[in-house]
């Protein structure tokens, strides 16, 4: 068992089954094109795809390139395409895929570094572009100043969107992202809404200006795939439509 499922000893049980894990291998610096390598993997009902990949890395092929860290779906490292859909490898159990073959590929719409690891610079840049911080004059605290008051209901208005772990799955699923390299994307748009909806924030107008661009919010067509693949229940599609409500004058 991979180092992640680190139960002290006594691990393999008679309940373990096996599947074939197909890993997409591609190093753009050296390879002409990508290919798959297959590995037999035995798994328990709780074994995650990430554990399976790390098992391969540990025992079959040390060179598999994959990004991972928290193994508990909070750091956003391990997004990849698993059996055709963008998912977190550490948050997908082999047993729930109901398939004898598990295929893992790098996320779409992100440049490949190597194998399963992709570049995130673009996502980080667009995230920064939408000013993801409270905008007001008194964000720097003076001594003895109190907190800004905020009711639980006001927190409820944005907390959902604050759950984003920047895994990029939404950007990988979005049909506009598939062809539009300048599109801000659901991740950043949802974060724009997160701050606009925060009762402490006063930066709505400047943020709306940024996303009201020819590759801004209007390039979302409410396809909803972003929300379907989001592992944290962020629902970017909702945030984007609510945000657009402001621009269309439905909300203020």
């Amino acid at each position: 068992m991979a180092q992640v499922s680190s139960v002290p000893k006594g691990q393999t049980s008679p309940t373990s089954k096996s599947i074939t894990l197909r890993i997409s291998r591609f190093n753009p610096e050296h390879d002409e094109s990508s290919g798959f390598m297959e590995f037999p993997i035995s798994y328990e009902k709780w074994t995650t795809v990430l554990e399976a990949i790390l098992d391969v890395k540990k025992h079959f092929d040390h060179s598999v390139a994959v990004r991972y860290s928290c193994r508990q779906a909070t750091c956003g490292s391990c997004g990849m395409i698993i059996n055709g859909k963008p998912r977190l490898a550490c948050f997908t159990k082999i047993s729930e895929l109901n398939s004898n073959v598990v295929t893992v590929e790098p996320m779409n719409n992100f440049p490949i570094i190597r194998d399963l690891a992709v570049k995130f610079e673009k996502l980080f840049d667009t995230h920064q572009k939408i000013k993801p911080y409270l905008i007001r004059d008194d964000t720097e605290i003076q001594s003895n100043e109190k907190e800004f008051l905020q009711s639980p209901e006001e927190v409820e208005q944005y907390i959902q969107f604050a759950n984003c772990i920047k895994c990029g799955l939404c950007n990988s699923a979005c049909p506009t992202m598939a062809t539009d390299s300048s599109f801000v994307g659901p991740q950043a748009l949802a974060q724009a809404y997160r701050y606009v909806a925060d009762s402490r924030d006063k930066g709505k107008d400047s943020r709306l200006k940024i996303i009201d661009d020819s590759h801004g919010i209007w390039r979302c067509h409410f396809a909803g795939s972003c929300s379907q693949v989001c592992p944290k229940g962020v629902d970017p599609a909702m945030g984007i439509q609510l945000l657009r409500g402001y621009l269309l004058g439905f909300r203020s």
Binding site: V7, K9, A65, P152
Partner: protein, 570 residues
């Protein structure tokens, strides 16, 4: 020629401590260039996993006092904390909570709109400030997002720092590998803040992110700094099976019970006053005692465990306050806390020890500070209270960030760049590791090492086990695991993993040696062969310095200001 970059301030590590330092520094030195160098992408740092709370005194108007926070911390530490340091933590913290609020932190709120707090182990007032049960995550997000405001912060994502370069006295730079391209760099700088976090992956059953390995500690060690108090490893009572992912102490703070196989809340035997909310060292020992006396359960993997009962909290409260662990237990263990008892077991969770610093976070090398879990300013002594660690990261992040800027503005180094040190480092990692030979699988060695730590230096320790553990680890070290089979340059995590393993050996040895030397039981360090605390002989910190022939162990006095050690009872 080696590729080279230059910053004024280098921050190694992008967890809570690193990011808080970056903001403090960027604000104080708007014209200085700050580089955050991290082996993971900024937001992937281990800190995002922190769940339960951040300790601070917010409601003095409702009866809480700073003094009480200080005393709880000192008592929790089993009187090994430096008391001036603990006081600094408690005094600085309230402001920091409000600062985070001003930056956008989604703290959970009370109905009157003020920031809410919950109960946590070892405190005499509910003072764990929380945001559902994803405190670390939201704090990281708030700090990361706030960093985006500053144009003088640069992010070197996925750069593995391998060594610290100094001229014997003063800091000069670091060497690092950009993982994406595989290029070896020197990064010159005037000051460095080490914020590389804990090293809990020394144990195989651990709540830590897989990236929490001791390479940061080892880097400091090799540069001549001391590691302090490394024998104090905290085992959190409730790691869920089979993954070892943390079930936050907040679960007990909200009212959860620990049950043995007789269905009793067994904590009444061990800490009747605080029950499940006794400090972690006590709860973990209680669980292990129950298990050893036959009142435990067997998990289907064959591991002994205990049960955590949250059912009486009700589905709604669990969803509202413990959404994260609800997700974790349903997904990873198939247990819904509203309906099922959770299988839990003490799990490696925190390292009280770290790079030896003073109260300001300054290390023994000029221009180098350490903050967060990587540092040991002795605020936690021999046992950290829950929620005090994120606090520590934030407070000393800020302090070191500002001090480093002061230092940079005052000092101008003109010493010649020590090329030979860079060359030596390049030789160490490329000739020694990357082009190394051998047929032993380093991943299996790593597994054996971490299993050994788990077996020999777990909640209860004794001489025989510790000595055997040390022997085993030295034996493993001799095997031919130092080679990297992946020959590609780009994103070579195999290389990084072997470098991590290399550092694990040195630090594991210090943990075990420290534990062998400390012939007493104090806080998280529980020796069955020396079950009592021994203030006469061991009321001191342990220091370990690097030497090629094995660590040199020393001691260091504890600062006691107001509170004389007394017996610790809850």
């Amino acid at each position: 020629m080696v590729d080279s970059l230059e910053f004024d301030l280098i921050i190694c590590g992008s967890g809570l401590a690193g990011l808080r330092a970056a903001i403090a520094a960027a604000k104080k030195g708007p014209n200085l260039k700050i580089g955050i160098v991290s082996k993971v992408q900024v937001m992937r740092s281990h800190s995002v996993s922190a769940e339960g709370g951040t300790a601070a005194v917010l409601f003095e108007d409702e009866g809480d006092t700073i003094e009480s926070h200080v005393y709880d911390t000192v008592k929790g530490s089993d009187f090994l904390a430096d008391q001036d340091v603990a006081e600094r933590l408690c005094v600085e913290m309230p402001q920091e909570i409000r600062q985070l609020d001003h930056w956008g932190m989604p703290w959970s709120r009370r109905d009157d709109g003020r920031i809410d707090q919950r109960n946590f182990g070892g405190y005499s007032f509910p003072r764990a400030t929380y945001a559902s049960d994803k405190v670390g995550f939201f704090e990281m997000q708030t700090l990361y997002d706030t960093c985006q405001k500053f144009e003088n912060i640069e992010y070197l994502n996925e750069w593995f720092v391998t060594s610290i370069i100094h001229d014997g006295k003063r800091f000069m730079g670091v060497t690092a590998i950009e993982l994406g391209s595989g290029t070896f760099y020197t990064i010159k700088g005037k000051a460095l803040i080490i914020a590389t976090g804990g090293a809990g992956r020394l144990y195989s059953f651990s709540t830590y992110a897989l990236s929490s390995t001791p390479d940061g500690l080892d880097m400091g060690l090799r540069a001549g700094m001391a590691l302090k108090d490394m024998e104090f490893v905290q085992f959190h009572p409730t790691g869920i099976l089979p993954s070892g992912i943390l079930i936050t102490e907040g679960a007990r703070g909200e009212g959860g019970y620990l049950l043995n196989n007789k269905g009793e809340r067994f904590m009444k035997t061990y800490a009747a006053g605080k029950m499940e909310l006794a400090p972690r060292d006590i709860v973990s020992r209680s669980i292990m005692t129950e298990i050893q006396e036959g009142r435990g359960f067997k998990h289907e993997t064959g591991v002994d465990c205990m049960k955590l009962d949250l059912r009486h909290l009700g589905d709604e409260k669990i969803k509202e306050k413990l959404g994260g662990i609800r997700e974790i237990s349903i997904k990873f263990s198939g247990q819904d806390p509203a309906k099922d008892l959770l299988d839990i077991r003490p799990v490696c969770h925190y390292m009280m020890g770290g790079l030896h610093t003073d109260i300001d976070g300054a290390t023994e090398i000029q221009g180098v500070w350490a903050a967060g879990e990587a540092a040991c300013n002795s605020v936690h002594g021999s046992n950290r209270l829950g929620a005090n660690s994120t606090s520590e990261c934030i407070v000393w992040g800020k302090i070191t960030g500002e001090l480093a800027i002061d230092y940079i503005q005052k000092n101008d180094s003109t010493n010649p760049w020590p090329h030979h040190l860079v060359a030596a480092e390049e030789k160490r990692i490329y000739d020694g590791i990357f082009r190394g030979n051998g047929d032993v699988n380093p991943y299996e060695i790593r597994q054996q090492l971490t299993d050994t730590m788990n077996e020999k230096a777990y909640v209860y320790k004794n001489e025989t086990n510790l000595v055997e553990g040390l022997k085993k680890i030295r034996e493993l070290k001799q095997q031919t695991w130092k080679h990297v089979d992946d020959k590609a340059k780009e994103y070579n995590t195999n290389f990084a993993n072997v470098m991590e393993l290399d550092s694990m050996f040195r630090v594991a040895e210090i943990v075990l040696l420290g534990a062998i030397n400390r012939k007493e039981s104090r806080g998280a360090h529980a020796r069955t062969d020396y079950p009592k605390r021994d203030d006469a002989n061991f009321l001191h910190h342990t220091l370990a310095y690097y030497d090629p022939n094995g660590p040199i162990m020393k001691t260091h006095p504890v600062t006691i200001t107001k509170y004389q050690p007394v017996e610790r009872k809850y």
